[in-house]
Symmetry: D2
Subunit: 351 residues, 4 copies
Amino acid sequence: MTESSDGKIQVGILGASGYTGGELLRLLAGHGGMEVAMLSAERRAGRKLAEVFPHLSALQAPDLIKLDEMDYSALDAVFCCLPHGTTQDVITGLPSHLKIVDLSADFRLRDPALYAEWYGHAHRAVELQKEAVYGLSELKRGEISAARLVANPGCYPTGPQLALAPLLAAQQIVPEDIIIDAKSGVSGAGREAKTEILFSEVGEGVHAYGVARHRHAPEIDQGLSEAAGRPVSVSFTPHLIPMNRGILATLYVRLAGGASVAELRETLQQRYGPEPFVHITPEGISPATRDVRGSNHCLIGLFADRVPERAILLTVIDNLVKGAAGQALQNMNLMCGLAETTGLSQAPLFP
Amino acid sequence: MTESSDGKIQVGILGASGYTGGELLRLLAGHGGMEVAMLSAERRAGRKLAEVFPHLSALQAPDLIKLDEMDYSALDAVFCCLPHGTTQDVITGLPSHLKIVDLSADFRLRDPALYAEWYGHAHRAVELQKEAVYGLSELKRGEISAARLVANPGCYPTGPQLALAPLLAAQQIVPEDIIIDAKSGVSGAGREAKTEILFSEVGEGVHAYGVARHRHAPEIDQGLSEAAGRPVSVSFTPHLIPMNRGILATLYVRLAGGASVAELRETLQQRYGPEPFVHITPEGISPATRDVRGSNHCLIGLFADRVPERAILLTVIDNLVKGAAGQALQNMNLMCGLAETTGLSQAPLFP
Amino acid sequence: MTESSDGKIQVGILGASGYTGGELLRLLAGHGGMEVAMLSAERRAGRKLAEVFPHLSALQAPDLIKLDEMDYSALDAVFCCLPHGTTQDVITGLPSHLKIVDLSADFRLRDPALYAEWYGHAHRAVELQKEAVYGLSELKRGEISAARLVANPGCYPTGPQLALAPLLAAQQIVPEDIIIDAKSGVSGAGREAKTEILFSEVGEGVHAYGVARHRHAPEIDQGLSEAAGRPVSVSFTPHLIPMNRGILATLYVRLAGGASVAELRETLQQRYGPEPFVHITPEGISPATRDVRGSNHCLIGLFADRVPERAILLTVIDNLVKGAAGQALQNMNLMCGLAETTGLSQAPLFP
Amino acid sequence: MTESSDGKIQVGILGASGYTGGELLRLLAGHGGMEVAMLSAERRAGRKLAEVFPHLSALQAPDLIKLDEMDYSALDAVFCCLPHGTTQDVITGLPSHLKIVDLSADFRLRDPALYAEWYGHAHRAVELQKEAVYGLSELKRGEISAARLVANPGCYPTGPQLALAPLLAAQQIVPEDIIIDAKSGVSGAGREAKTEILFSEVGEGVHAYGVARHRHAPEIDQGLSEAAGRPVSVSFTPHLIPMNRGILATLYVRLAGGASVAELRETLQQRYGPEPFVHITPEGISPATRDVRGSNHCLIGLFADRVPERAILLTVIDNLVKGAAGQALQNMNLMCGLAETTGLSQAPLFP
């Protein structure tokens, strides 16, 4: 690695002026082994980071530059926070020595036909798409460690896949009967000025959006199908909540083969017992987004439904951390051979 | 009726210092045919209404008195906003000339055994329980009009029953496969000082509560079973949203007998076409709680799920209006022979 | 007046798709004497009102048209909710039979030089500027009743002028020492998509903006100078609060000529005693924005400061009602010879 | 010190189940040199920390015990988060080897008469009151380093004193003319169940409280009087904002002796240039509470007022960090001879 004189991995962030870029910078500020060496932001190029993110004024950070001003030879690793669609072109042009974690949706779907169906155009980097490893850290740790390009999971798919994949693999729930009702903070919609995410539009209210046609649905299907060993198609409805951060997903499942909720709990506890970031809440305790705010944790709760042979699971994450920048850093740590938790040990912020 | 000199129906509110009491007062302030003659509030007896509800300072209103100071002979009608459990004793003692809308849960469940199971004690007014009419206005209009005692529906059950009962009656959805994921503003939890509803506990976050054991579940079952003509038991999860008002319920159902979502839409439009307060949103439009804030409206949206033979419905109400005080007033209007919409024509407040 | 067959005043709204336009429509829905006959919205012309304001779906309302499609001959009155600057050109071209209430800033400042200084260009309708009456209803009732063109006050200036003008006229406070610290809900910033009012930018936080250079400062100066009979220049700082509606202004004043706070209170109570919309809170009671939400009320509280010879006053309004659409309707009622409170009797919405 | 085997300072928290206790635990989780050895919480004694603070479930922490179960011989240092009034009795009984940072108000006021006036009873530990050092870290660093008992400043007084004390010492502002308008998140009101801080009471609204009689006013006076060298009495109004965390204080001052705002800025930059936690925002930039959320930073902004010879300053802190737990830890670091920033280097959380 082209490390700095003090041995730190030199990192660049492409598209650093959005919320995930800012969150990466927050986390990297407490990461002893990486140094932020370059930041791009097309429309805000030439500005200081503190103008775009006043909360980061105390950081030593390079000024924002244009994408075509990036000198990749001075970097070891890149976080790509560019918009969906343009990302594939940019990453195609990156030199091969770079480790890349892509936070866009461009490389999450493995099937080019599925990508074309949901994103409205043929994928323009099919070879990279094949190479890319899906970066759900706890489920793909081995592949991620060996990868050059990791597709960071979407914010919505992270929690439900962590909860459901082991249960499908254990054949304890019915693959044909999975309903995911997700509630997200508004930061998940990004920092672009759009009327529908103005404070006065979403404050003091709640609504669903993208009903039955949100792009994270096929991503969830892909992961759960792999776990189940057969095609899974979930019902998925995202909702917007008047809060900045957090995703709560409520999962309605049917028990398979006479499994009990206690057995499901046992499966998840076995699977995630030693994990630093995934935790099963005690019996009777509902996880809340306030429990993980600002942290890389994912909590999973399980309840027997009053309807026989049904269970209700709940997962919570901070959409900007485990749902974006935190998991991206977790993956990059793996790719660079660092301890997976480096820079990610902040306790949650409550209240 | 013992009407006032100007012919207005004389109304009392028992337990007037909570949120539903305040909301009744707000609505009655614009109701030309009723006059608020007496207000009780045990712990705040002796205080002026404006001390308890500064927002109502401009109203002419009687001071708060104790329950045992109420002179029912001067009243025609009573709204009962007392806590669950004590309500049945109070109503048992009310003179028989009074029209009563009870906003507690005491008379919602018709089956005494079911009541005992969910409320932890035998019902102490079983005869009244038999007499009470369940006050879902649009579904029980005839019975309500003839009733002396109406049990006002719970906030959560209102929207889902309005959406699902006609579909079950038409046998267009499968009764065994109904999931109700509900999101409520915090005012639904009442005005008692409790740690778990402090601003800092629920602000900037979302969580589920009462998973698989909320008392509104058997109430929903009761209504849907009646509509379906056979026992229905729903999966139901309530969530707390950092907003004051509003309930959004997301309903996941399986289509029955080859019905299409277009046919479901047709059923609901037929059923609610002329209704003043229940509306079906246009195709592709998700209802939002901001669309009904402060009003007595209920909106219902329908979507075909991407999973074949499944549909997703959404209902929104203001929990304090159609979910409590508004529906109570709508029922009392019916009971008193007034136009059903009297005092309820406020347009929603957005933003 | 070219009234409709049922005698209603025919009203148009120019720029109907913003928050003040929507609020006018909400209020007019309960106004028996006016009928909304025409609505313009440049960028959304051709759309139904319900697409722009789903909360108003239950209203009978004309579709949105372009400004140049308006047929003013069919109208008696117009509310103008267009952006600052372009308004003066539009109003110049309106036929003289129309009553006009302008909700923009274009005609609030009487001095063309002052306008040019604060708005960066010479006023293009100086004659109209002379004709326009400043529409602070309680202070200018007579002039408003006789006016053809009323400049509706800004949201921030409304409360502080109502509180301070009578005290300055009575020489009970020192004109040279007035500080206005104002806190506003986000709807005051309008419905244009701007990054700085995205939910995630302003949620869970508070900040000042336009410090010492907000355009409402000279407007306040103008009103208070008139009341004091000599030039007044106030310190004024607006802040953005994570709420949709409401303005609280905290006013710090120095007592003049030995006046006591009790005497100030007496002055305001004398002045506003019979007013339907302006109220003085009892001793020791702080007004809160929740007390006026959705209503046309303005509350004023007074406190002796612990610093001798100083007082602290607090005023609250709903920025979209008394601070915009409500006061505009109050003014139009006056201009049309209707009861001033018509359409404005909604009680506040709490919680 | 009775350090643990790995050399860590052994720390206890008295009253650990409130928001400041939880915040201390969050910060100490990332502090390499201190170990949380004991936690008291009277009403929740016997419970696990994770039951009281689910967000801290991942921590290794002792269970909650009663105050009289504390074994102080095993501790080196204590953070005292008990209620005002009872604190003085508890601290009187603590062994003398303990370093103590008290987060209550009991030892903030040096003058026993002033304490009695504002707290309604004679101080019961006058000798300790004399010994206690006021813990505004940046202004009292030397005394704090040598202290055994530090009285941690109130949340409101912290920002205004940091901004104004140097300006008063430099005689650049008039001591007789200081107005402090403060806006706080709701967590500042504590975790006790009280109706007035329920979500539905404070959500979607803003109000002032304790007008002209808040106990933090004499604390501010004390600090500013010391800086000015003569008695100072400020106008101070606190307001409650619908957010969890953060305090913004808007300060209105009169310039003294012909000083300019540029000179004030220079004074503050000189004073705080090398400080790790106090920063002056660039010209024209208003600090926002979102810029410091979750961090120990205090930002100060300065603006020339449009009123001649007046200036407007703005200070922001996180009330639970620099306004409570963070400053407490900063002080304890100083008292224990550790680097002052240990455990306090988290970057702010935005959004």
